[in-house]
């Protein structure tokens, strides 16, 4: 069969149609989902793939954690129990296996085949963070993978249109919010279906038989653009060592990162990084790849589309069994606490090659707080409320960092009025934290302080994920570091920085999340910016020499 070559006009039109198709499916998925994480943090993705499982188009709203993950999962299915010839129209396969999917069990993948004129022409895949997957309360507290809840190996959720009742029943009986969790999985199936219909309508309108030629042409053009951008950077190997809290006690974390730019390719090697951690902060290689490729893509070619082509020039390796290449049985529930730091060593290495294109460390990862208990105001109904606290954004080579902004993930806060309505807590403050960022020619964005109090008689459980209590957001090119974060409870009691504890009525919790690192030498800072910072109270006099 001769492959069809599209001109730059037709390709542009077809491409924008494909993006609209996945975006539409993504919007529907987000709006109908129950999971706070899915809707507030855009923690989902919809990907259109060709029949080999190569990504063609990815929904624009989605977080970096899923970059490339759905195609990796689909390729795994195709090479494993679900080869190309086994798919039938109406099939849907699901899995939440952290190794195959997005690195922890709440992220459930759903893949549906697309048949056109009775031929398999591609797949639609979605990943979404479901409200609950069983096991211990979400966090880093599980001792092994089994405590992290239900594992769904790749299984048919629908077989030629017939629902797998056994599987759904099994899920229903193993999770805390069964209706919402099943509701979210069904929303994924519906989103895939919507995308499939959109694609078929497009093929009919345009008189196409398949998407292979189209996808090849787009993927190859994307790959070329990415390679062109990388090849402009100087060759060499650039290394950076990054320190993180781990458990804030006897098991800190060390990330060794060596970025090699060679012609039009980039290899990132994490040799020398800490071994797997006792806490559930281990990252599978899929996830490590996603959060390593993301800062690289932002640095070199933010505008090229997200498809297989953008990632072909990027290779990531990490020692098997290490923190960044977790094996099957270690806990991975809070892998975001590790993945969301990887931009810092990657930028730390890349600044040696392309100093203008990167940013200083952010007050990341964002802190996660899960509150759980019984709400006296709502007939003692059980509540599980998630909320997230971002730090400041790192300074850039030409401007200050933004105050309190999510990076590298993109997760919003939950309005305080909504939080107080859903859980028995009361806030005393939520504010910018002056002097919390590194200074320099450009200052990091400020972090934040919150104080809240438990107000119900029974008290509640709190699962916490914090970072940078013992470490800082690192400055860049002479810019200074941020302050350390703070976590304390009045009346004073020990708080596990990553773990679960019981809170009593009247307990008052203070959290301070650091700002971003500074960029460049402080002596080069524009005096007008210093004056403004003082006037607005972003910095106080004590920092002036």
């Amino acid at each position: 069969m001769n492959s069809q070559k599209f001109d730059g006009v037709t390709l542009s039109i077809l491409w924008s149609r494909l993006l609209a198709i996945v975006d539409e499916a993504g919007t529907a998925l987000q709006r109908t989902s129950f999971s706070t994480v899915t809707r507030e943090s855009n923690d989902f993705a919809v990907v259109l793939m060709d029949k080999k499982g190569q990504s063609v188009a990815q929904s624009a709203i989605s977080v970096p954690s899923f970059l490339g993950v759905i195609p990796m999962m689909t390729k795994y299915l195709l090479n494993g129990d679900f080869p190309e010839s086994s798919w039938r129209p109406g099939d849907v396969v699901t899995t939440n296996d952290p190794q195959l999917c997005a690195g922890h069990k709440p992220d459930v993948g759903v893949v549906s085949p697309i048949f056109f004129k009775e031929k398999l022409i591609g797949f639609l895949g979605t990943i979404s963070h479901v409200p609950d997957i069983g096991g211990v309360l979400w966090g880093a507290g599980a001792r092994d993978a089994y405590e992290e809840g239900l594992l769904i190996p790749p299984t048919k959720l629908y077989s030629e249109g017939v629902e797998n009742e056994t599987l759904l029943n099994l899920i229903k009986n193993n999770v805390r919010a069964p209706m919402q969790t099943i509701g979210d999985i069904r929303a994924q199936v519906a989103a895939n279906d919507q995308g499939r219909k959109g694609l078929i309508a497009l093929l009919n309108e345009e008189g196409l038989e398949h998407i292979e030629d189209l996808s090849n042409q787009i993927i190859n053009a994307t790959e070329k653009a990415m390679r062109d951008a990388i090849s402009k950077a100087p060759d060499g190997t650039f290394s950076y060592t990054y320190h993180a809290d781990g458990d804030c006690n006897e098991e800190p974390v060390r990330i060794e990162c060596a970025v090699t730019i060679s012609g039009d390719e980039i290899t990132v090697d994490y040799e020398g990084t800490s071994d797997a951690h006792t806490l559930g902060i281990n990252s599978v290689l899929n996830y490590t790849y996603a959060y390593t490729a993301y800062p690289i893509k932002c640095t070199f070619s933010p505008e090229v589309p997200n498809n297989d082509g953008a990632f072909r020039p990027i290779t990531v390796t990490a020692p098997r069994g290490s923190l960044l290449n977790a094996t099957k049985f270690v806990p991975v529930g809070a892998r975001n606490m590790t993945g969301n730091m990887l931009h810092a060593p990657v930028f730390g290495a890349l600044v040696q090659a392309v100093p203008e294109q990167v940013q200083a460390d952010c007050g990341a990862p964002c802190w996660c707080v899960v509150l759980n208990g019984y709400n006296p105001d709502r007939n003692d109904m059980e509540f599980v409320e998630y909320f997230f606290l971002n730090g400041g954004y790192g300074a850039r080579s030409d401007r200050d960092g933004e105050g309190i902004l999510s990076f590298p993930t993109n997760i919003s806060n939950v309005p305080l009025e909504v939080q107080e309505t859903s859980a028995p807590i009361r806030y005393h403050c939520k504010e910018l934290l002056p002097d919390s960022a590194g200074i320099g020619k450009y200052r990091g964005g400020l972090g934040q302080r919150i104080i809240f109090e438990v107000v119900n008689e029974a008290g509640l459980n709190m699962s916490l994920l914090t970072e940078k209590l013992n470490n800082v957001s690192k400055g860049m090119k002479g810019g200074s570091d941020s302050i350390k974060g703070q976590l304390k409870i009045e009346p004073d009691k020990p708080v596990p920085p990553k773990g679960i504890m019981r809170l009593k009525k009247g307990d008052k919790i203070t959290m301070e999340i650091p700002g971003g690192g500074g960029y460049g030498d402080e002596t080069e800072r524009d005096p007008l910016l210093i004056k403004r910072d003082l006037e607005l109270g972003y910095i106080t006099k004590k920092l002036i020499h």
């Binding site: 001109d7 730059g8 006009v9 390709l11 542009s12 039109i13 491409w15 924008s16 149609r17 609209a20 539409e24 709006r31 109908t32 129950f34 809707r39 409200p131 209706m179 919402q180 069904r186 519906a190 053009a221 070329k224 062109d228 893509k297 932002c298 640095t299 070619s301 933010p302 505008e303 589309p305 294109q357 105001d377 997230f388 850039r396 030409d398 401007r399 933004e402 105050g403 309190i404 902004l405 999510s406 993109n410 997760i411 919003s412 806060n413 309005p415 305080l416 009025e417 909504v418 107080e420 009361r426 806030y427 403050c429 939520k430 504010e431 910018l432 934040q448 607005l536 109270g537 972003y538």
Partner: protein
Amino acid sequence: MSAAAKKCIKLMSFQLGIDIGGTFTDVVLLDENSEKLFFSKILTTHGDPTDGIVTGIKQVLDENKLEGSSIRRVLHGTTLVTNAVIERKGAKTGLLTTSGFEDILEIGRELRYYIYDLNIQMPEPIVPRNLRLGVNERIDKDGHVISTLDESQLAVQVQTLVNNGVEAIAICYLFGYLNPSHEEKTAQFIRENYPQIYISTSSQIMPEIREYERTSATTMNAYVQPLTHTYLSKLESRLLDMDISGVINIMLSSGRLTTVEGAKESPIHLLESGPAGGTMAGVFVGKQTNRKDLFNFDMGGTTAKASLIHNHKPEITNQFEAGRVKRFRKGSGLPVRIPVIDMIEIGAGGGSIAKVNQLGLLTVGPESAGSEPGPACYDRGGESPTVTDADLVLGYLNENFFLGGTMTLNRQKAEGAIRKHLAEPLCLSVEEAALGVHRVVNENMANAARVHILEKGQDPRHFTMMAFGGAGPVHAFDVASRLNITQLLAPVGAGVASAIGFLVSPVAVENVRSHVGKLNSMDWEFANQFLSKMEDEGKAFLNTAGIPDENISISRRSDMRYLGQGFEINVPIPNGELSRDKTNEIQSNFSLTYSALYSRTIDDVEIESVTWRVLTTGPSPKIRLKQEFEFNSQNALKGHRKVRFAQLNTTIECPVYDRYGLQVGDAMNGPAIIEEKESTFVIGPNSQFFVDDQLNIIVDMDAS
């Protein structure tokens, strides 16, 4: 009624619609007796916009030998408020918050609007940190006071703001929407001690849960209040100077009208005043021609806007952002939850620049050449090829009759720009590249429209597309065929569309209140109490606008969701006393709305209400029109020229008509080009068109 009074009413049988846009101020005069419309169009006077209004009104009154006293009603829309927000030209504003929460306005939602741009910039808060002061007070989630308002500290904080020279103060306390007493006490204190200060409270401006969004709206209202106040007072007095003492109504973003007092109180409701008029013009033409479902398409120099009209009503949303850092990036602006006509805006206009991107794809917009230097064919130094350049090369535009011949276009410049920047890198002929620009920009618009229409659970094929704006009629045919829309309509007077729209908009007010509760365990007694209070407030407001109770209609809606979801959908609620008996009806309304949007329902999860809205509306004005032209020529056919259509493979000799030569009842086959002053209507092959009795041109396209 006395004979004199009757005579007066008969004399006062004229209405004025006035629309101030960025470039032009449009005035339309409606003679209710003869059912005729008269237009005038003058350049907007940016220094003092009322100068332009006065000139325009005088012009249209003089032409018709009328006195100001004959004007019964003045309807007005303006971009004043939106420009003040975009250009940050509002008043120096202070903000009082619950102490400890002064930074909520700056913190926002902590979300990036574009995840691949490391150089992202977030919008600056309207009130800087040194003018945001905390007051000791606290209300809890049930509306109970936990700490009383510290009045002596309040006095100090207000004094500090005043010393800093603020003109306006916004007040937004936590849970102020549930219990406004602290906000009201604060406002009263300021009113008594600093009567010159403008005050906005969150409990009045946006009494809804979610503190950032509420603070944002309240602050923005305070920010634009002084200038709106000054402007509207001045307008009133200048109209009086012309002896115009009729009612003045102001256009809101929702396509409804309010009184001058209402506009002064809540000027943020004027943010989309102008564009709303555009959609209401569609409503107007729809009513005139008996078409209830319309797709309104308005394409100008830098953007295209589109909205749906369903059952003669525009779609309304309350998700809106003002002053975006990046105009076409959702999330890069400041949220304002006010009712606005649900409109999509994309960066596609005559000035949109076409280029070949790093992947070798032809892309168009959102960057625009604007009017200076403008498209290459303007010959004012613009070198980038634009949509207008492509339209000229394809033969759609007449180089000697652009804007009615007031401007000549340079075809060589257009071809040169397309050749150098598009045809050569793409290895296409100049004509093929120009057609590519046309196809890509049309596909961009069709794509956005397709998503928008689907999100509303509608099918594009049921709509007639109405083309407005300078570039709208040029692109409408191809956009419609991409959407499988089969009927197109190009109205007369599309150039003054917004001002016409004002004439048919009803006076209305929406009252809002958040009360979170599950449908099955709702405290209906409490709900009935606040709903009827909201109705009474709405009626009282309409009474002040001269609308008696018997002409008022009420419609109630609630923002509802499945328990645990984060997005609400807007669901109709029955009027009258509510009780447990009504839950089935409300539940089924919810299910219908939900499945229209998302094609499914979730039967085993409870439903909860978050926010309640009561819309109190006056009657929709009924207007009949008799359109007339001064015909320019007996012969409508101007000649033929070479035109390339997207639907055909070669260039053809296409007939060109003068719109002012076409008569009621004329019917012909496409392809055709119809030239008029403000625009050119491009009609492709495989279509028929005719001129209806209102002089609208209607195109029926063969279904493909």
